[in-house]
Amino acid sequence: MLSETGVSPKRAQPRLTVNGLHKQFLLHGQGGLEIDVMRDLSLTLHAGECLVLAGRSGIGKSTLLKMLYGDYRIDQGRIRLHFDDGELDLETLPAYAWHGLRRDVIGYVSQFLRVVPRVAAVDVVMEPLLARGADEVESRQRAETLLARLNLPERLWQLPPGTFSGGEQQRVNIARGFIGEHPLLLLDEPTASLDAANRDVVIALISEAKARGTAMLGIFHDEDVRERVADRLLPLDGSLGSLTTASQDFRESLS
C-alpha cells in the first residue's frame, strides 16, 4: 500500500500546491444553514504523478476537484499552479481568465457528461482541440482513435451520447477529457461504470499521461484501479466531511 509519504517521482517538479483550503456552503433557503465541507486542506502535486484522494465515500472528495476546476468558489486558502516562468494563483484569478486556463492547462473528467443534446459523440470528443484552433480533420482522427481504443462501437460515433448507456457515456467523457493532453488533469471516478477491459484502457491512458509529465489528481473507488494508478494517496478523512450531512453539490444539498 502506498502512503502519502511515499517517494515522489525524482525528476518531478511541483505543478500544483494547495495550502489551507477551506470550503463552506451557506444555504439562504434553509435559514442560513452553514455547512463546512473542507477544513485546512493542503497538498502538493508534481508533474508526472497521480495523486489519489482517499477517504470515506460521500465525504466530498469531488468538492476539491470542483474548486480546482473553478466550479466552486475558493473562499479561503491558496491554490497555486507552477510554471517554468512563474506561478499563477487561482483564488485571485479573474473570471474571464478561467476559460483560457481550462482550455490550455486544467482538464477534467467528470462523473457525468454534460453536452448539447444533438451533438454527435465524436464531435463532443474533439471539441477541446477545436477550441484551441486545431485542424478539424486531424482532431476528428484523434477523437476516433481514442473512441476506438475505448471500444466504443463505431456505429455510435455519429450519434449524440444522450441516449447511450452509462458506460458508453463515460467512455465519451474520458475520451473528451484525455484528448486535450492538459498538463493538469482532474479525474472524478473515470472508471466507475466501466467493465474490466475498458478499465485497463483507462489505466493505460493514465500511465501514458504520466509519461508525458501530466500531473493528475483523482478519485477512484475501485481498489484495484487505485493500486495500479496511484503514486501516492492523500488521506482526507481529517479535512473533508461536515458536522452535518456531507454536501457535494448545492442542488443535492437542497433536495
Binding site: 439562504h28 512563474g86 448539447v116
Partner: protein, 286 residues
C-alpha cells in the same frame, strides 16, 4: 511548461449605466467589462432589467446616466481590414482605429455605422431582425451591401454559403423568410447578422420561442460559430440551461441590479447570493 497567456483586451467597458422607466423598472448602476472572445450571459427573470440593459449596450437606447465604451484596439474586424466604412465610424479620417468610442457621445450617424459595420444584434423574434418581404438571399446580402459590396454574383455566393453554414437549404435563397418555419427564420437572422463578421454580437433570448428540438440544434450552431469566428457575445437569457451551454461568465440580475457575477459553473453550482440560490434551485431538471 510556460505560463498560459490569459489576459484578454477589454472590448466593452460599461460604466455605471442607469436606465429607469420607474422605480426598480429598468436597470441601475451597472458596471462590467467584456473581454475579447468572451461570451457573457445576463440572466434573470422577466422584469429584472436585462433586456433594457441589452438595448442600452447595443446602442438602441440612451442611458439616463453612465457610459458604454467600445475599444477597437485589438485585432481588426473585417470591415476595418477592407477599409470600408472605417472612417464612417471614427468620424475623422486621420483618427486611428485604436480609438475608444463612447457609444452615446459619438453621435447618431457614427453609432449607426458602428452597429452596421462592427456589431451585430440577434433579436428574440426573428421578425424583428429580418425583412420579411424580401428574399433570404437579400436579407443576408443587405449588411454586406451596407459595407459597400456591390458585386451581385459574390453577394449571392456568400448568401448561399451562409445558408449552408446555418443549415438552411441554399436552394431556397430566393424564398421570402415568411415561408420559413420559426427555427429556420432564427437561423436566417443569425446568418444575416454574422455575415459581416461582426466583432461583438448581442443576443436577446436567441432560442426563446423555439421548440426544444430546434433549440438544441441552434445552440450547437451558435457554439460553433462563436468558436470559428472568435466572437465576443453579450447574451440575455432567462434559461439557465442555455446560459450553461453558451456563456463563459454570468451576471445575475434582479430588480434592475446585478446581484452576483462569476464564472458560469460557479454561479450555477456554487451560487452565493440568496436570490441566485433561489433561481438555481427552482429549475426543473428532467
Amino acid at each position: 511548461m510556460k505560463k498560459p497567456a490569459l489576459e484578454r483586451p477589454v472590448l466593452l467597458d460599461v460604466q455605471d449605466i442607469t436606465r429607469l422607466y420607474g422605480p426598480a423598472k429598468g436597470c441601475e448602476t451597472i458596471d462590467f467589462q467584456l473581454h475579447a472572445g468572451e461570451v457573457l450571459g445576463i440572466v434573470g427573470e422577466s422584469g429584472s432589467g436585462k433586456s433594457t440593459l441589452l438595448r442600452v449596450l447595443a446602442g438602441l437606447e440612451a442611458p439616463d446616466a453612465g457610459r458604454v465604451l467600445y475599444r477597437r484596439s485589438s485585432n481588426e474586424p473585417e470591415a476595418a481590414r477592407t477599409g470600408t466604412g472605417r472612417n464612417e465610424i471614427s468620424g475623422d479620417p486621420k483618427e486611428n482605429a485604436e480609438a475608444e468610442l463612447d457609444l452615446y457621445a459619438i453621435g447618431e450617424a457614427r453609432r449607426r455605422a458602428l452597429l452596421r459595420l462592427e456589431w451585430g444584434l440577434v433579436h428574440q423574434n426573428p421578425r424583428d431582425g429580418l425583412r420579411m418581404g424580401v428574399s433570404a438571399g437579400a436579407n443576408i446580402g443587405e449588411r454586406l451591401m451596407a459595407q459597400g459590396q456591390r458585386h451581385y454574383g459574390r453577394l449571392r455566393a456568400t448568401g448561399q454559403d451562409w445558408m449552408r453554414q446555418v443549415e438552411l437549404d441554399p436552394g431556397r435563397i430566393d424564398d421570402a423568410p415568411r415561408t420559413f418555419s420559426g427555427g429556420m427564420q432564427q437561423r436566417l437572422q443569425i446568418a444575416r447578422t454574422l455575415v459581416t463578421r461582426p466583432r461583438l454580437v448581442f443576443m436577446d433570448e436567441p432560442t426563446g420561442g423555439l421548440d426544444v428540438s430546434v433549440q438544441a440544434r441552434l445552440l450547437d450552431m451558435l457554439r460553433t460559430l462563436v468558436r470559428q469566428l472568435g466572437l465576443s457575445v453579450v447574451l440575455v437569457t432567462h434559461d439557465l440551461a442555455v446560459a450553461r451551454l453558451l456563456a463563459h461568465r454570468l451576471m445575475v440580475m434582479r430588480r434592475g441590479q446585478v446581484v452576483e457575477t462569476g464564472l458560469t459553473d460557479q454561479i450555477l453550482d456554487d451560487p452565493q447570493h440568496e436570490y441566485t440560490q433561489l433561481l438555481v434551485s427552482s429549475v426543473l431538471t428532467p
